[in-house]
Amino acid sequence: MSLLRKIRETGRVAEDAPPRPAGDPPPGAAELAGSAHVRCIDAGSCNGCEIEIAAAFGPVYDAERYGARLVASPRHADVALVTGAVTRNMAEPLRRTVAAMPRPRLVVAVGDCAIGCGEFAGGHGVEGAAGDVVPVDLQVPGCPPEPERIVAALRVVTGR
């Protein structure tokens, strides 16, 4: 019963929702109408962005309250969160994962590496940025981006 006491003492952890982010929703986002299922694709990241994505879906930032949810299969997903500079070995899996998602589908490049290869630009194993491999609809800059910015990008997609 110590867990019950902990639940009662802790209460609500989630921070108050910030005002809705400005910005035009990318094409196709309107059809999602308040629900976005998200699949994360690590295309060669240092895992910094993954930690921030995990925080965005954790209790404090609670991205789920805006209708975004992490799912286990690209077939279930509407949004692909691509992190990291795309390595040669991950270029084809990334293409296939995005191709497996049913339309309308959106690709969000999370972090400086996914947007422009960041620290790893010109590396011998790097194929390019996420935009060089698959069409990217939204960008979340930062190294790593703060959870607020990831949540804001997801809110632009869900419109909530």
């Binding site: 609500r12 952890v13 989630a14 805006y66 299969s73 509407d78 049913p102």
Partner: protein, 321 residues
């Protein structure tokens, strides 16, 4: 049977199926919301599963290469069998035109048909996880279906019939049966069987992302768009129907036994309340549970089978016939 009785009975069946279909996503939303609040989150709101379904229906349907009719028909069979079960089971009224067919064995067979259809669909995709999920689902189903049958058999001995409407109306008119050792044991056995059948903790984790721990989710990894919407609606309806059946068998108060419209409305409201309460209690309990290791699931289900067997024995010896 005169005209008004048949009309009220037909209305009861229609409203019961409509309530289950419309309420199932709300029940799923309520359960997620309860979990979110206990975890300190805000949660997406009770109507989020309906938003998810609306979006999935608008999305493109994907037929993976190499899949055949089992994959395409699986979701339809799942929803259809569950809708028939929702019509048969006496959730709101025991006096309906189909209550004569609400046989226990038929209901369990229809549930098994839905499970098998989805397992075949999982095999049809030809992926490693689809086959693994199907194999696990059949293992669990083979242990669960006998438990459901046996648990309700214990209740059917005092009623003298395997007809669910007869069992439920017997419970309403003779409440002592519900508190008898047989009644309590079979309720406990049925509760564990419902958890396993609907893929809830501690048998299966509905929120898992780790393919190796999946049971239900592994079978449906390849579904997309409208097919996925049907699969999700089908599983949510199964949970609603089975929780409703559990409520009808263990706490049948309020279920209409006559063809009066006022009693029917009261029964529908009470049904929604009872299922919402059971769902919220289950969601709250799940916060405290961890998923059982797969090889220990048979132990849990064997335990519930034993409870059902004890219920049948107690029912046989204690009714004194």
């Amino acid at each position: 049977m005169n005209g008004t009785m048949t009309a009220t009975g037909t209305a009861a069946v229609t409203l019961q199926v409509a309530l289950v279909a419309a309420g199932a996503p709300l029940l799923a939303g309520l359960m997620r919301q309860v979990r979110a609040l206990l975890e300190g989150r805000v949660g997406p709101g009770v109507t989020q599963p309906w938003r998810d379904l609306r979006k999935l229906l608008r999305k493109e349907a994907v037929t993976p290469a190499g899949t055949g009719s089992a994959f395409r028909l699986g979701p339809l069979v799942l929803v259809a069998t569950t809708a028939v079960v929702a019509a048969l089971v006496p959730l709101a009224s025991t006096a309906t035109p189909v209550s004569g067919s609400a046989d226990l064995i038929l209901v369990v067979a229809l549930l098994a048909l839905g499970t098998v259809a989805l397992a075949l669909a999982g095999l049809d995709t030809g992926t490693a996880f689809g086959g693994m999920g199907a194999s696990r689902e059949m293992t669990v189903a083979a242990l669960v279906e006998p438990t459901i049958l046996l648990a309700v058999f214990a209740l059917s001995i005092p009623a003298g019939s395997t007809n669910l409407s007869a069992i439920v109306s017997g419970g309403i008119h003779d409440p002592v049966r519900l508190a008898s050792p047989a009644g309590l044991l079979s309720t406990a056995a049925l509760a564990v069987a419902v958890l396993a059948e609907t893929g809830r903790l501690p048998v299966d984790n509905p929120a898992t992302h780790l393919e190796l721990t999946m049971v239900h989710e592994a079978m449906v990894l390849e579904y997309a768009g409208p097919d996925l919407a049907l699969v999700e609606l089908g599983s949510q309806m199964r949970l609603t129907v089975l929780l409703g059946l559990l409520a009808s068998l263990s706490a049948p108060w309020g279920i209409a036994t006559t063809a009066s419209p006022a009693a029917l409305v009261l029964a529908l409201v009470l049904l929604a309340l009872k299922v919402a309460l059971l769902g919220a209690a289950l969601a709250a309990a799940e916060v405290f549970w961890a998923k059982l290791r797969l090889f220990r699931v048979p132990e849990l289900l064997a335990g519930s089978f034993l409870l059902a067997l004890l219920a049948v024995t107690a029912s046989y010896f204690l009714t004194g016939e």
